[in-house]
Symmetry: D2
Subunit: 497 residues, 4 copies
Amino acid sequence: MNDRPPSATPPETKLWGGRFRDSVDPEIHRFTASLPFDRRLARADLLGSLAHARMLLEQGIVDPPAAGPILDGLAGILAELESGRLAVDGADEDVHSWIERQLAERIGEAAGRLHTARSRNDQTGLALRLYTRERLAGLVRLAATLAEDLAARAGDHLETFLPGYTHQQRGQPVSLSHHLLAHAWSLLADARRFRTAHETAGVSPLGAGALAGSPHPVSPARVAELLGLPGVFANSLHAVADRDYAAEAAFACALCLVHLSRWASEVVLWTSSEVGFARLSDRVAKGSSLMPQKKNPEPAEILRGKSGRVLGDLQALLVVLKGLPLAYNSDLQEDKEALFDALDTAEGCLTVSRPLLAGLAFDVTRMGQALTGGYLTATALADLLVGAGVPFREAHGRAGRVVLAAEERNCELWELPESVLGELCPELPAGARERLLPEAAARSHRSPGGPAPERVVEQLAAAREAIAAELAWVDGLPEPPLRRALRDGTITADRLA
Amino acid sequence: MNDRPPSATPPETKLWGGRFRDSVDPEIHRFTASLPFDRRLARADLLGSLAHARMLLEQGIVDPPAAGPILDGLAGILAELESGRLAVDGADEDVHSWIERQLAERIGEAAGRLHTARSRNDQTGLALRLYTRERLAGLVRLAATLAEDLAARAGDHLETFLPGYTHQQRGQPVSLSHHLLAHAWSLLADARRFRTAHETAGVSPLGAGALAGSPHPVSPARVAELLGLPGVFANSLHAVADRDYAAEAAFACALCLVHLSRWASEVVLWTSSEVGFARLSDRVAKGSSLMPQKKNPEPAEILRGKSGRVLGDLQALLVVLKGLPLAYNSDLQEDKEALFDALDTAEGCLTVSRPLLAGLAFDVTRMGQALTGGYLTATALADLLVGAGVPFREAHGRAGRVVLAAEERNCELWELPESVLGELCPELPAGARERLLPEAAARSHRSPGGPAPERVVEQLAAAREAIAAELAWVDGLPEPPLRRALRDGTITADRLA
Amino acid sequence: MNDRPPSATPPETKLWGGRFRDSVDPEIHRFTASLPFDRRLARADLLGSLAHARMLLEQGIVDPPAAGPILDGLAGILAELESGRLAVDGADEDVHSWIERQLAERIGEAAGRLHTARSRNDQTGLALRLYTRERLAGLVRLAATLAEDLAARAGDHLETFLPGYTHQQRGQPVSLSHHLLAHAWSLLADARRFRTAHETAGVSPLGAGALAGSPHPVSPARVAELLGLPGVFANSLHAVADRDYAAEAAFACALCLVHLSRWASEVVLWTSSEVGFARLSDRVAKGSSLMPQKKNPEPAEILRGKSGRVLGDLQALLVVLKGLPLAYNSDLQEDKEALFDALDTAEGCLTVSRPLLAGLAFDVTRMGQALTGGYLTATALADLLVGAGVPFREAHGRAGRVVLAAEERNCELWELPESVLGELCPELPAGARERLLPEAAARSHRSPGGPAPERVVEQLAAAREAIAAELAWVDGLPEPPLRRALRDGTITADRLA
Amino acid sequence: MNDRPPSATPPETKLWGGRFRDSVDPEIHRFTASLPFDRRLARADLLGSLAHARMLLEQGIVDPPAAGPILDGLAGILAELESGRLAVDGADEDVHSWIERQLAERIGEAAGRLHTARSRNDQTGLALRLYTRERLAGLVRLAATLAEDLAARAGDHLETFLPGYTHQQRGQPVSLSHHLLAHAWSLLADARRFRTAHETAGVSPLGAGALAGSPHPVSPARVAELLGLPGVFANSLHAVADRDYAAEAAFACALCLVHLSRWASEVVLWTSSEVGFARLSDRVAKGSSLMPQKKNPEPAEILRGKSGRVLGDLQALLVVLKGLPLAYNSDLQEDKEALFDALDTAEGCLTVSRPLLAGLAFDVTRMGQALTGGYLTATALADLLVGAGVPFREAHGRAGRVVLAAEERNCELWELPESVLGELCPELPAGARERLLPEAAARSHRSPGGPAPERVVEQLAAAREAIAAELAWVDGLPEPPLRRALRDGTITADRLA
C-alpha cells in the first residue's frame, strides 16, 4: 500500500495556491523563504516591474485603465522605499510576493494583471542583474578611488628609495612611488573586471517567463531599453538558468580581495618593529586588552583575512551551479547570499582601505637604512661588468664572489678597497664604486616600467589617466529612460522620451 | 622627511586605550567591530568569565570582597540574557567589551579585576569552544534523530522492492528499507564526526593569556573543570593560535551537507513525473507563480544548494588560517562568521529534513512497476550459472547475450521461452526462471549487509542501536559544575561540589 | 651560542651558484625543482628567449657576433623540440635552466650573454603568458565547435517537442532545438571568457627583470611586438607579482566545467530508463563488470565529476596568491600545476563532449509521450483567460482549479468536457481546447527567444553567427613576427618584417 | 523519427562486453580510462583480490582446484610488482582489468572465477581504503617525526628568549623552546587526525557487490579479517556510495598543510634581513638567476604555497560528491586524483620540512636584541601592579602611561628613573625594575603551559610522550593475516593462522 501524505490543513494564500489543498509546513516555510535576504532587491525589483508594466501597456497586453494604477502604485511603493517611509518586512516568501501584496493593498484586483507574461524565474533574474550592476559600478568607483589615493601618495615619494623585495629578501633598490603604484595597477585590473562583469550582467532576461517565453506579444527589448540594459536574452531556457554574471561578479570580488590581502600583508609587515617602514596612526590601530604597549594593525589583518570569506563565496556559488539540469532550479535561490556577501565584503574592504592608507605614515629614514646591509647592488655590479663586455653569466658569478669578499670584510660593496674590486673585476670602469650606491643604482634603472624617477613620472601619468578613465566610465553611465520618466512624472504618459 | 599621521582627536574609551592619544576612525571601527556577529557568544563568554573569576577567587588572585560582586554581577547578566530581559547591543567593539561594560555599570570599579591574568585572545578562544561544543552536541542529536526517522520509515518497507541504481541506471532489485537505511548510515557517520569535533573543541585555552601565560598562580585546569571541558592547553602560544576545532566542526558540517545534498537530489528525482517513486505533500512543496499545475520540490532543491554554502564556509576558514605566523592574528576574527554559518546551515538543513521526509509519500506501485523493463536480474542469471559451475566471466558474458535475446523478443528474462534460455544457458537448473523474478532475486541476496529482508531486519536493529548510542551520548553529557553552582546559587560559596 | 648550519659539501652548478659554498640537499632539490611540470613551457620559453635575444641584438646590448649563435642555437633547439627529436629531461631545476644548458652545450660561453637584463621572474611570467594564450585560443575553438555541434543537432529538431523542466518537474512544452541551443549559449559565453582571459594574458612582462627593470637600454615593447603580444607591463614590481591572467584563465575553465556538468547531468538523466529521452551508442557507454544488462553513461558522469577538479584548481590558485607581499615569491611556482590542470581538463572535457553528443540518439517518441500527463499547458489555459480579459492572478488560480478537475477525471486538460471547462472558465473562446494541446502551446510561444519554431530559426541563425565569429577570431589570430622570421630563416637578419 | 546512433564497428574485449555490439570511441576510452592514475592501487587491489579469492575458497564458492591457481597467480603478480620485475602499463581501462588480464594470461580460464560475487564498485572501494590507510599510517609517522625534530631543537633552547608575537607585533618574551613546541602540538593534532581517518577507512566494503550484495554465501567479515580491517560495511548501497574516508583523509592533509604554511611563513619571516632570527644553510636555500647576492628561502615559500593545492584537492573531492544519488556513480572515479594529490603533497611537505628545519640556524643574538625596544614587559608591569592590589584595568592603563613616558625618554621600561616609575605607579614594590627585564618576565610566567623554563621542561616531556605514542601506534600496527600467509607461503593452505 502506498504511503499517505500527512493530513490536510487549510491552504495558505500564496501566489501559486490554486492547486494546493494544504498549507506549507512552518519549518519548510522558514527554510525556503528568501525575504530575509532578497529584501535588498526590492528597489531593483520595483524598477523591473515598472518596466514590465510599461511594456505591457505599450504592447497593448494590459490596457491603460489597468496599467495606470499599476504604474502609479509601483512608483509610489518605490518612492516610499527610497525615502525610508516603507520597510520591506513580513512573512511573505520572497520580495516579489511582498511587492505584489503591497500593490494589491493599494490598487486592489488590478494588481493581478502585473504578473501577466512573466514568472518569478525571469523576474528574479532581472532584479538580481540590475542590483548587481549597480553594486559593480560602485566597486569600479571604489577600486579606482583607492588607486587614486595610492597614486597621490606615490606622487610624494618619487625620490624615496627603499629595498624592493623578492622572496621577502631584499633584492634591488626601488622607489616608494614605484612600489605603491604596483598596488594601484592591481586595483585598476580589478576595476576592469568589475566593468566586464557589469557588461555580462547587462542582459535582460525578462520575457523568458518561467522557461518558455509567452504567447503574449511581449517586447523584451523594450523592457531592456527602459532599464538601460544593453542586451536581451537569446533563449528563454538559458535566460532563467544562467548565473554566469553572478559568478563573474564574485570572481572579480575574490581576485580584488586577493590583491587587498597582498597589500594588507605588506602593511602588517611594514608596521612591525622589525621592518618599521611605516607607522599606523592611532586612528587605524588597535590596542591589546592585556598588553599595554601594543599597537596592532588589526584593520590590515582583518582585511587580509576577508579574502578567505570571498574565496568561500565564489566557491559556494560555483558549487550551487554544479550539475543543475535545465532550466530553473531552486538551488539558484542560494546564489544570492554568496553573491551579496562577496559584493558587500569587496565594498567594505575597498572602503576601509582608504582610511587605512591615510593612517599609514611612511618612515623614510628606516627605508633608507634598509638600503644598506643587503648587497642590494650586486646586480648593478654584474650589469656594469656586462656593460664592459663580460657575458652575463660570468658577470653574475663574479658579482657573487665580490659579495662574499664584502661579507668577509663586513663592508658594503662600495666600501670595498679599489684593489679588491679591481682584482675580482678588472674590467670595471673608473668610478664604478659610486654607481654601486643604492640610490644611484635605482636611478640608473631607466628601462620602461622601471624605478628611475623619470620612468615613474611617466608611469604615474599613465596610472592617473587609467584611473580617470575608470571614474569617467562610472560617471558617464546613462540614466535609464525609466528612471527619467519616474523623475519627470511621465511614467504613465503616452510616450516616453 | 617622514610622513605625519593624520592629526589627533580626543581618545575613546576602550579596554586598551592607555597608550593611545587619538580615537579610532569610525570607518575602521565599523570594519573591525565584531559585536554584530560575536554577540551570539555572550552566554558562552559569561560562563567562561564566571569560571575565570571563580578560579581567581579560589587561587587567591582576587580576594572575596572583589570576587563576590564580580561573580554575582556576571551571574545576573547571564540570567537576564537567558530570560530575554537583556539584549546584546551597542557600539562596543566586541562581546567581551560589552560584558565588561555591563559589569562595570553594575558593580563599578571591581569589574576591572576580572580581566586579571587573561587576554581577549584566550578568552575568545574559550567562548568559541564552549559555543561550538554546544552547537555540535545539538547536531549530534539532529543527525541521529533524522537517522531515526529514516529507520522508522525503513521499518515499514522491508518488503517493498524497487530498483537499486548505479550510474542512475537500474541495477539490481533492493528493498526500500535497505535504500533508506543507506542514508541513515551516512548520518550516523556525521554524528560521529560531530562528536569528534566536540572532543577536539573540549580543550580549554584559558590561562594562555595573550600568548605567554601569566605570572599569577592561575589554574587552567580548574577553569576547564568548572566548565566541563575535558582538556587543558599544553602551550600558551599554540592555545591562542589554534583553530583546528573550528575547522573540524566546519568540515563535519560540510560533509553532512554533502550527504544531505545526495539525499535531496534523490528526493528531486523521485518526485519527478518520470521516476514517480514519491509524492510530496502540499506541506513540503511549492507552486509556481506562472504555471498553475506545478508542484515543486523546492525544499529539497534548496537543501541540495546549501551544500555549496557550507563548502564555501569550510574553504573560507582554511584560507583565513593559511600562512598566519604565531601566535594570535586578527585574521582569526574572521573564523567566526564562517563557522557560525556552517553550524547554522547544518542545523537548519537537518531540522528541515525531518518534515521533508515526513511529507514524502512513497509510491510503492511505481516502484514495483520499475522492477520490470530493465533486466534487473541479469546478474541473478549469471549468479545461477556460477552456482552451476560456470566461471563468472563466462557467466557474465552469457547473461549479456540472454539480455540481447530478451531485448529482441521485447520480453522480460523470466518470460523467455525455456528453449531459448536452455540453449544459451544449458547449465541452468530447473525452476531457474522463477528465480529471475526481481523480488525473488532481492530475497536471495542474503549476504551480510544485503537487501534480503532478514538481513535488513538485522541491519535495522544495528542502526537503531547506533542511533540510540548517539542520543544517549548527548543525553549523558554531564552538567558542568559551574552550571550546577549557578542553578544552586552557590557560585560564591567557599566550596563547589 | 648561535646554531651552526649543517656542515658543507661541494657546491653544485646552478645558474645562481656564485655566493653559495654548499650544494642543495637532494630532498630540497626534488621538492623545489619545477622541471617535471614546467617542461611543457619549453616552446614558449624558447620563443620568449628568441625575442629577448633579438631585442638585445637590435638594441645593441649584445653585439651580432654573440647574438647570432644565440639566435641560431635557440632556433635549433626549438626546431628539434617541435619535431620531436629532442625531449625536455634531466636534473635541471627548471625549464629555463634546461634551455640555458642546452644552449651552452651548443654554442659555448656566448650562451652566458642571453640572460642579460632579464631574470627568471620576468622570463617565467612571459613563458606562462604565451603558453596560456595558446591554450586559451584552443579553448575558444573547442567551445565554439561544441556549440556548433549542438546547433547542428538543433537544426534537425525544430519541430520536435518535449517538456521543458523547472525544478526537474515538467513545466511547459518546448522544442528540442530550443533546449539544445540553451547549452550552446553557455558555451558561447565560455568562449567569450576564454577570449577575455587571452587578452588579459597578452601583456608582456619581459624587461621587468627580477623586480626592478634594468640599467640596460632594453625595449620591452619590441619583445612584445615580436611575440605578437598587444601590451607591455607598466610597473616592473607588478609585472613579476601579477598572476591575474592565470586566475582569469582558471576561472573561465571552472565556469565552463560547471556548464558541462549541467549538460552532463542532463545526459545522465535523459539516458535513464525513467526519462528515456536519449540512448547512448555503444561507442560512448560502458558496461558493468558484474551486471550484464547495464549500459552506463560513464563519460557523462565523469564529465560532471570533472567540475570538482577545476573548482579545486581555481581555489588552489587563489589560495596561493592570498597574502603574498610584493614582488616575486616562490609560492608563485605553485601557480602552474593548478593552471595546467584547469586548462587540460577544460580541453579534455570539451573534446570528449563532441563524440558524447554524437553518440546520443534522441528518442523523440519518448519525448512526445512525456508531453502528456503533466498538465503542461495549464499556463496556456491561464494565458487564454488573460487574453479574454481575466487578470493574470485570477486566471492562474482558475487554471489551478481546472488542473484539479482534470486530475479527478484522470484526463488531460484538452480532454475535459466542454461543459466542465466552460463552467470553470466561462470567458474561454471557442476552440480553446485545441490550443491546450502541447504542440499548439509551444508553437504559440512566439515571443522573442521563445520556443516557437520561427523564433528558434532566428535564434539558430544568431547562434551560428556568434559561433562563426568566435571561430573567425581564432583563425584570424596573426602570426607573430618572430614566428614568421623563424619560418623564413631571417631570425638573424638586419631587419625583420 | 528517432535519431540513429553512429554506425557499428566490431566490439572490443572488455570485462563487460556481453551486450555491447560496438566498441568504445577512442576519445571516450582515453577520457574514461583510469589506469594512468589508479595503477598505484595495484598492490592494494591484489591484496584485496587475494583476500576475496581466499574467502571464496574457504566458503566453498570456488573449489580448491580453481582457487589454488588464482591465489598462486595473484601472489605471483604481487611478488613481481613488489620486486619491480613487473610494471602496470597498457591500454586496460583500469587497474582491475589489468590485473584480471595478467591473471588470465598466467592461469587461463580459471581467472574468470575470481570476480564471482564482487563488482568493481566494492573492489575499487576496498583497494582505495587499503591504499589510503597505508598512506595515512605513513603520515602519522612523518608528522610525529617532524614534531620529534622540533622537540629536539626545543630541547636545546629552553633558556633562549625571544619576543613572542601577536599581530606580528612584539608581545611578551617567550623562549625559543616554547615557540618551537607550539608547532609540534599542531603536528601532533595532525597525527591524531590521520589516525582518525585511518580508522574511518578501516571498514571493508567487499561483499557489497555492485550495490546489492550477493546470493552467494560470501563472508565480508572474513575478507576484512584477512586484510586486517577492523570493520565491515553495514549496508551494501552505502558501502559503494561512501567516500567519507577519502574526504576525511583529504581534510586531515589540508589542515596539516595549513599548519605547515604557518610555520613556513615564519621561516620566511625569520630569515629575512629585517627579522634575522634564523639563517638558512646553503643546502636549503636557493639563489637568484639575476641578483648575485640573494639567498632565498624557496623551500619555505613553496611549502606555504602547497597549502593552496591541498585546499583545492579537498574542495575538488567534496564537489565531486555533491548531489550524487545512490549508489555508485562514475563521478566517484574522480575521487582518486584529488585524494592522491593531497596524500602525496602532505607526505612531500612533511618530508621536506625535516631538512628545512635542520638547515635552519637560529641566531640567538638577534633574538636577544629583539627583546629590547618593544616594551615587551609592559604587561609584566601591569601584573606587578595587580600583585600590589591595583585592579587589572587600572593597572593596564597605568602601564600604558609608563610606556608613553619611556617612549618620550627613548628608554626601556627598566631604564626609567625610579622617580618616574614611582610617581606613575606608587604601589610598585622595591626591586620592581629588575622584574621588568625581558628574561625575568619570561621566567616569571610560571603558569601551566607558559614559557618559564620549568614549565617548558614539563611541556617537552609531555610532547615527547605524545610523539612516542604516535610512533608506537604506527609501529604496533599488526601485520594482516593475509600478508603473513603470503610471507609464509601458506596462502593456499587449508587453514591460515
